[in-house]
Symmetry: C2
Subunit: 200 residues, 2 copies
């Protein structure tokens, strides 16, 4: 092994797309799978292939789904809810669901406004959000975006949109650590932030 074999080189290169994985740890992962867990490597390869092909986005709320509508959007109880919670990512949505405090509907932006990265209203599905609000079923929109610069800017943009449709707009209570990421906040804090939400 003067150099790595081609397939090994490709594997190490490909592992580096994972967040937090540098060249040395990619090499370590590749060697460890090949030496000790080839079955696991095969399963991971298949799981990635299946997930990338089979997981799409819900036509209504944009969260990850394997059918046209996600489980929440297909739930008759929640379809009647008049509260819509807007989050930046599916991970944030999952964190909120796990508090068990919210029974309404969601809209998942899958990002925040970032003109420099080419992420505008279209990329976040805001036309789709407008159509939803235009139906008049939503009375309250809860802005549960990250308490970061991008999250706040996106929240302001969406708040204006909501006011055009006469929805009341609230945001999660202060108490979220400034600059933090919603996905990593513990359930209790998040539940409190929910119940203490205030008018935007």
């Amino acid at each position: 092994m003067t150099k790595l074999t081609p397939l090994l080189q490709q594997l190490i290169e490909a592992l580096r797309i994972l967040p937090g994985v540098g060249p040395k740890s990619a090499q370590r992962m590749a060697f460890q799978l090949l030496e000790r867990n080839r079955g696991g490597g095969v399963r991971l390869g298949a799981a990635l292939t299946a997930a990338m092909a089979g997981i799409g986005q819900c036509q209504q709320c944009r969260t990850f789904a394997e059918a046209p509508l996600c489980a929440i959007c297909s739930d008759p109880k929640r379809q009647q809810a008049d509260v819509l919670c807007i989050v930046g990512s599916a991970a944030d949505q999952l964190a909120i669901e796990q508090t068990g405090q919210f029974q309404g509907r969601y809209f998942v932006l899958m990002g925040y406004l970032s003109p420099l990265d080419g992420i505008g209203p279209t990329e976040l599905g805001l036309e789709q959000l407008s159509e939803l609000l235009a139906k008049g079923q939503i009375n309250e929109v809860i802005l549960a975006t990250n308490p970061t610069v991008e999250g706040e800017a996106t929240a302001f943009y969406i708040a204006e949109l909501c006011q055009q449709y006469g929805c009341s707009v609230t945001r999660l209570a202060q108490g979220l650590p400034v600059g933090g990421e919603l996905e990593y906040i513990d359930g209790t804090t998040l539940a409190h932030a929910f119940s203490g939400r205030k008018r935007f």
Copy 2:
């Protein structure tokens, strides 16, 4: 998304086989691939599948190879070498090759003796090593095993084997940090350890 979708759950589960990846970071990896880098996820899936199927072990030295013999064992210059370096893993072999100090042959154990884990002489290919030594082409065996308890125990076992075949046995010079792992040592230290190797 009351719960994760089945494919997403499978993906997060499968990512946890990677060393150093816990439940939270597996979830983060899965979401990030799906949100921002599906192309990368597809490539990683394909690279894993191809590597697990296409990378075998060299029939002669046991290192990773995509052909019956690896590049070093197929090299006519190195085939004539009478020095054999025994390492614990392909990563250790790669670290030694990268020093450029060694022109001989290798034997890659792919592990260390560990009776409790069911790893004995057969699992490390020591019958194969005996056959190689029996041919009488090897004059010196360099034991480049990790300076750990398992590495030392394995080195002692192999040293006895070599003496049966009248090979001289050396080990890498002290200077390797005790309890450390060979794969993570810088090239200069490793090169010094090589040139200062002493009789076992």
